[in-house]
Amino acid sequence: MDSVLRDKKAIIIFILPVLIIYIGIIVFPMFASVYYSTLSWDGIGEKTFVGINNYIALFFNGDPFNRAIVNSFLLALSSVFVQLPIALLLALMLAKGVRFESFYRTVYFIPVMLSSVVIGHLWKRIYHPTLGLLNELLSSIGLEAWTKAWLGDMSTAMVAVFIPIIWQWIGYHMLLMYAAAKAVPNEFREAAIVDGASEFKIATKVIIPLMKPVLKVCVILAVIGSFKAFDLIYVLTRGGPVYTTEVPSTMMINTIFHSYQYGYGSAMAIFIVIECLLFTLIIQKANRNKNITY
């Protein structure tokens, strides 16, 4: 196995098929999108070159795109500060060793395996103003005054949409963190116990610092995933009501397919790509020299 890994020619041969496909399906269309974003084009007819006008219009036309960007940032923030801590807590508890550990691991991971469309429709039923589970629950415990049209009310729509998104991916991050926590050699834990540390201290001073690389990966994945978030939002509200749940990707779909503005939509797509790259770099730089080893 080692000799294969070291043999550069072997590496290239094994990677080549997938690399070709990757370049064809992902890299090439990205460059094509950059080209399209410089056009004014309806997707099927003639193309007119307009340079960077699409990008200027993106930010200065008073479009809801700025609102969409803000929403995606809010989603990123809630992913990092709500979703990841919950995942971390669950991961640490499971890694410590509880009864039915593998059962819980599976159960928490099930939302990740479900199709986003299925989850979207599930939550749509929960949020339904008259027939939904949530309002029924509130009414049955006497909180009828709190019932509302969760997805229809402009003040609650955004939070209502974020909850399923965060819920779905907790298991995914939990699994990554669980693996990292399990990888911490048991001797450290035992040594800490011998030194008289409480569970909390063990978690914060021993396990988490050793999990830093994985935590960094989770943060990057959460942030990028939030910038690209699409399916759940599209199924739940399609960006409505009145742009309160709009994110760059839903705007892109509407622009391309309903407004026949392929060039403008491509500019949005390129913006999302650049945004993701930028934030990946920022997060990498912020965590550069903090890998701790004992």
Binding site: I13, I44, G152, R238, G240, P241, F257
Partner: protein
């Protein structure tokens, strides 16, 4: 040495297998082997009858064609309305449109025609079909003087009223806008959401704006503005939006309407929870089906008139804009057009009998066999003096989206009527 040669051979073989596997997986769907042997032509067809209920008229028609024409088989696929709008645009742009496909005429299909993706039917249509078409129904299928589509029904907007709810609360069915406002307030006093709408599917909300504009401005001015011969900020249009705003603020629309969709609204009405709904004639058959809770309780009426305004009660929102088109890339032009004529004419007649639309070809529909509501609706439009299409099918692309979004903002209460007409006028600048 021999070991590394074996390794090389093995890796090359694996790579080859992988590439072959992937290539074969991305091949086109297997063509009908039978078709190749006996030269059967298979025509693909897409439409928006996604459920078995919606497809109840077209399925038997296609089966009849397939039986009568063993050499030309039609394979139909139905899609949900909103997703279809995206799917058909992608398919056409990628030159993968099916032979026959559903579309909306006028503005919606304008880009397709302009890009040359739709077959011009003039040279292919039979005279019989052209003569059978009722007056004016081909208007929205004609682009640049050529016919590019065949319509299969006509729709117009009717005001559905659940008489049981009106009687229950002793409220008079409204004939004028003032009576409508009164009815709205009365229903609200009893805690009933008066008018159904599903703003998440913006077109259902747009219907209310369009019919109010029809009432305040009249059909001629509406059509002039849509054709860029008049302005969208005329006082009549401003009044229409102000009335809509007034209705929204009076609580005229069902609770949670911002988040509900077309399906929700329809279901709530069918469950008998909403007294009024302004929608298209495509619902008449559905509302009279045996398992529908409001069967026999709904009447189709004209939308209330605004006294003193330009519009009259004999002008209707609607027209003939549901069409089928033939892709310009089809390999079997003659067969496709023959199939087109067959389907459209039978859909027109059978659709009328089943209550999903009004006919656009001369036919022999037996009114006594049809349900009460469809007959009532069809009689309603006999006195029509003018039609205006739904604005989002007339306008093209970004303009249609702008209109839909502005209407949505009025329903959300975040836009003033003055802003609305100002932004609409930008379309005509």
């Amino acid at each position: 040495m021999s070991r590394s040669i074996t390794k090389w051979l093995l890796s090359a073989a694996i790579m080859l297998l992988v590439v072959i596997f992937l290539v074969s997986c991305t091949e086109e769907e297997t063509t009908d082997e039978d078709a190749e042997r006996e030269e059967i032509i298979v025509l693909t067809m897409w439409d928006v009858s996604a459920t078995a209920e919606e497809a109840r008229v077209i399925t038997p028609i296609i089966e009849r064609w397939n039986t009568e024409n063993p050499n030309v088989q039609i394979r139909r696929e139905g899609f949900d309305n909103e997703s279809y709008k995206i799917k058909i645009k992608t398919a056409i742009a990628a030159n993968e449109a099916p032979d026959l496909f559903f579309s909306w005429g006028a503005g919606f299909s304008q880009p397709f025609v302009d890009a040359g993706k739709v077959l011009a039917l003039d040279g292919y249509l039979s005279d019989e079909v052209k003569n059978n078409a009722l007056d004016g129904v081909l208007t929205n299928s004609i682009y640049n003087g050529n016919i590019y589509a065949l319509p299969y029904n006509m729709w117009f907007g009717v005001f559905y009223c659940n008489t049981e709810l009106f009687e229950q609360y002793n409220i008079k069915l409204p004939d004028t806008y003032d009576e409508l406002l009164h009815a709205v307030r009365e229903f609200r006093k009893h805690g009933v959401g008066p008018i159904g709408v599903g703003v998440n599917d913006r077109w259902t909300a747009m219907f209310y704006h369009n019919i109010l504009a029809l009432r305040t401005a009249g059909a001629d001015l509406c059509n002039d503005a849509l054709n860029q011969r008049a302005r969208f900020d005329e006082p009549e249009f401003l009044e229409a939006v102000q009335r809509l705003d007034e209705l929204v603020k009076a609580g005229a629309f069902i609770d949670g309407h911002l988040g509900l969709g077309w399906d929700d609204m329809r279901e709530l009405f069918k469950q008998g929870q909403i007294p009024m709904m302004f929608q298209g004639t495509w619902l008449t058959g559905e509302l009279e089906m045996d398992d529908c809770p409001v069967k026999g309780k709904v009447v189709a009426r004209k939308f209330p008139v605004i006294e003193g305004a330009s519009g009259t009660g004999t002008e209707y929102l609607g027209g003939s804009v549901d069409v089928f088109m033939v892709s310009a890339n089809t390999k079997h032009k003659n067969e496709a057009v023959r199939a087109l004529e067959y389907i459209c004419q039978f859909l027109s007649e059978d659709g009328f009998t089943e209550g999903i639309g009004l006919p656009v070809y001369k036919g022999g529909a037996d009114l006594s066999q049809m349900d009460r509501l469809t007959v009532q609706a069809s009689k309603l439009v006999e006195d029509s003096t003018g039609f205006v299409l739904a604005w989002d099918t007339f306008l093209v692309g970004a303009d249609a989206q702008l209109h839909l979004n502005l209407v949505q903002e009025i329903f959300a209460g975040v836009l003033t009527p003055e802003s609305f007409v100002e932004k609409m006028q930008n379309i005509n600048e």
